[in-house]
């Protein structure tokens, strides 16, 4: 029994309870430091767990209820290096967010803010560790509820209320679909443990019920992840949450949904659906590519930085989903490393945007045009982060991108890596363009192509308060960025990730270990060599990002004729897309329903 496993969840929960009862006695800064210390402790636990679990997955059965005769009676956490890696990312981002909030908030922060943050932390780590389907649902809901409340923290703004309501309703329905899927699986198998579900399901071929249950579970998890067409709530919510909270949302919450998809597929459904892997692959990669491209396009059309970064999150969720959807160990390894590296970069970007909001009062690139000239460090963080988003070699994100490239190449999907590189390049370009406008004063300060927030309706929390300064506003961004980009230089990282992913996808062996206490198979050795084609694509992505950013800034220098032709071709589509993303909650739920029906239908067709 490894005591660190339950502690990673129990410590923040106990800390939350302590702060809820005693937090109002102590000053807000003390509460904040205590919460940050707890988050740091969780990070350390999870990093230790990465190393401890690298020799074999750690199973922790609550109350000592071990499986008897291959039947799971109790509930367990299973920690493997990939899950522990994501949990460590959660801890690191939460630490950064809590450190930033020491200097971020103007007012005396009520203790319930830190209570919510710690519950959020515990729920995310619990979700990453759970190997029981219903427990996953409970942690998923706990995480969502804490997240709704944190989104609505600045409850005095109209847009905040709108964002929080959309978030809560759409995710509520997504979670409900997840639950119906779980109920169907339980009805069929009588099991809730992922490995045991896999054992029972793999005895028979797929039928309607199995496919519908799988589709509903995937839809529920993808709603949280923000995949198209379940993504509409995401940009509304992330644009209005306080910047420290956004570090968590953007850095890891969305990607946890994808981790759930990978886990449920490999542990429970890969046996029964394995004969039809091509169908599942087509659906997942299809959603992934659509999400990556639509998210990138919408990011490029935003002028408000937080909303832009929200669409960057959506776009990258698509990239990760396509990588997971390759359904190979190498694709999963690439996706997981990518989630960690990119999560650190996105966290750094949101942290820097928080600093900008506090110093300048605006984060809309058209309004804040040229007003960031006195903040060279923030500008540099955003610029380097933008290159990280574009997966420029040799940064940390590039290493994971190269793995995905390799995995797609091995399957013969040669078209996929360039498409994903295009999406990441466009997201990088959008942020670079904003950096050029705000920090260098380049380009005009108006652009009818961009979606701008009407003046007086700004979503930033900074505008009414006096400017704030402080090392803690931007210090965490530097640390996160350095960690995210420096991952590339950890020796043998890709090889280790592939080895652990190979173990993760070996369903029969995982089931033997979980249910029969078999000893772990040694991690198969792997040797990853970054090919020249990956470097070429990474370089092309960098050039494209810079080029597109320039086009975004100096669109007016393009000859009038070409501009008119482009407008005539794409103007209508762009306008329609913008209108689509300015909907109300009923429309978003309609899209959720349509998407769920489409995914179920496609899966049913392709796995016949």
């Amino acid at each position: 029994m490894n005591v660190l496993v339950p502690l990673a969840v129990a410590v923040p929960l106990l800390g939350a309870a302590a702060l809820a009862s005693l937090g109002h006695v102590s000053p807000a800064r003390v509460d904040d430091v205590v919460a940050a210390a707890i988050a740091l402790a969780v990070t350390v636990f999870c990093v230790i767990l990465i190393f401890q679990s690298s020799h074999g997955t750690i199973h922790y059965w609550f109350g000592g209820w071990q499986p008897r005769n291959g039947i799971a009676i109790g509930i367990s956490f299973s920690v493997d290096p990939l899950g522990a890696g994501i949990a460590a990312l959660i801890g690191a981002l939460m630490t950064a967010a809590l450190v930033q909030s020491i200097d971020y908030f103007e007012e005396e922060v009520p203790p319930h803010f830190f209570v919510l943050m710690l519950v959020f932390l515990a729920a995310m780590v619990g979700f990453a560790f759970s190997s029981d389907l219903f427990n996953m649902f409970v942690f998923f809901e706990l995480m969502s509820t804490a997240a709704f409340a944190l989104t609505g923290y600045r409850i005095e703004h109209r847009s905040v209320l709108q964002g929080a309501i959309n978030f809560a309703v759409v995710n509520g329905i997504g979670a409900f679909m997840l639950l119906v899927g779980i109920a169907l699986v339980y009805g069929r198998t009588g099991a809730l443990n992922l490995a045991q579900i896999g054992q029972v399901l793999s005895r028979h071929g797929p039928d309607g019920l199995v496919v519908v249950a799988f589709a509903l579970i995937v839809v529920g998890l993808l709603t949280k992840a923000g995949a198209v067409p379940f993504h509409f709530w995401l940009s509304d919510a992330y644009a209005v949450a306080p910047a420290p909270v956004c570090i968590l949302f953007a850095g890891v919450m969305s990607d946890l949904g994808l981790h759930g998809v990978a886990r449920v597929y490999w542990e429970s459904f890969s046996g029964v659906l394995g004969g039809h892997a091509d169908g599942v692959r087509a659906v997942l990669i299809g959603i992934g590519v659509l999400t990556a491209l639509l998210g990138a396009l919408m990011a490029f059309l935003q002028s408000a930085l937080k909303r832009m970064l929200a669409f960057v999150v959506i776009s990258h969720v698509g990239v990760f989903l396509a990588a997971i959807g390759l359904l190979t160990a190498r694709g999963l390894a690439g996706a997981t490393l990518y989630v960690v590296a990119d999560g650190l970069v996105k966290g750094a970007l949101f942290c820097a945007v928080g600093h900008l909001a506090r110093r300048v009062g605006h984060t809309d690139e058209l309004i804040a045009h040229g007003r960031g000239r006195s903040l060279p460090i923030t500008g540099s963080i955003l610029a380097v982060g933008a290159l990280g988003l574009a997966a420029v070699p040799p940064l940390g994100t590039f290493v994971s991108y190269a793995l995905v490239d390799d995995a797609a190449g091995r399957l013969g999907d040669r078209w996929l890596p360039p498409v994903l590189a295009l999406a990441t390049a466009v997201t990088g370009a959008a942020v670079l363009r904003a950096v050029g406008r705000i920090f260098l004063g380049l380009g005009p300060d108006e652009d009818d192509l961009l979606v701008s927030v009407p003046r007086g309706e700004e979503e930033d929390e900074g505008e009414r308060n006096a400017p704030r300064r402080g090392f803690l506003l931007w210090g965490p961004a530097v640390a996160l960025l350095a960690a995210g980009l420096g991952l590339a230089f950890a020796p043998g990282l890709a090889d280790h990730a592939i080895g652990h992913a190979e173990r993760f996808v070996d369903r029969p062996q995982v089931a033997r270990e979980t249910l029969h206490g078999a000893t772990s198979a040694p991690t198969p050795p792997a040797h990853e060599h970054v090919g020249t084609s990956s470097y070429a694509l990474g370089g092309a992505s960098a050039l494209l990002a810079v080029g597109l950013a320039w086009v975004g800034l100096y669109r007016r220098r393009i000859p009038r004729k070409i501009r008119a032709a482009l407008d005539a071709t794409f103007g209508g589509v762009v306008l329609r897309l913008r209108l689509l993303h300015d909907g109300v909650v009923g429309e978003y739920v309609t899209w959720l329903t349509v998407g769920a029906a489409a995914i179920t239908g496609l899966l049913a067709l392709l796995t016949r």
Binding site: T145, F148, G152, R158, I165, I173, A183, Y186, V585, T593
Partner: protein, 115 residues
Amino acid sequence: MSFLPYALAAWLFFVGLYGVVTSRHLVHLVVCLGVMQSSSYVLLLAIGYRTGKKAPIFTSGVPVKLGAVDPVVQALTLTDVVVSVTATALILALVVEIWKRSGKLDPDSLRKKET
């Protein structure tokens, strides 16, 4: 085993969904969400039900007789109720806040009047 509970669960699901999609009033929308939630309670209980079997109440000292309905789904339902009540309470709190700020409860009034 009757087909009826499953039909009822499906009916509650689609009626609730229709209500959420077409709602013109935020409180009404939350109630419709509640209707959808109750469909999952019916579904869970239906899955664990065994015709003619007793409630799964076991006490120490009394010999265990097998043949009760599945207690696991009942535990799941209870957890589900707790979870969904929390979410509902939170959304209602947001709705009250919207009412205080704008005096309107039409979801359309939340549109970002941008384009």
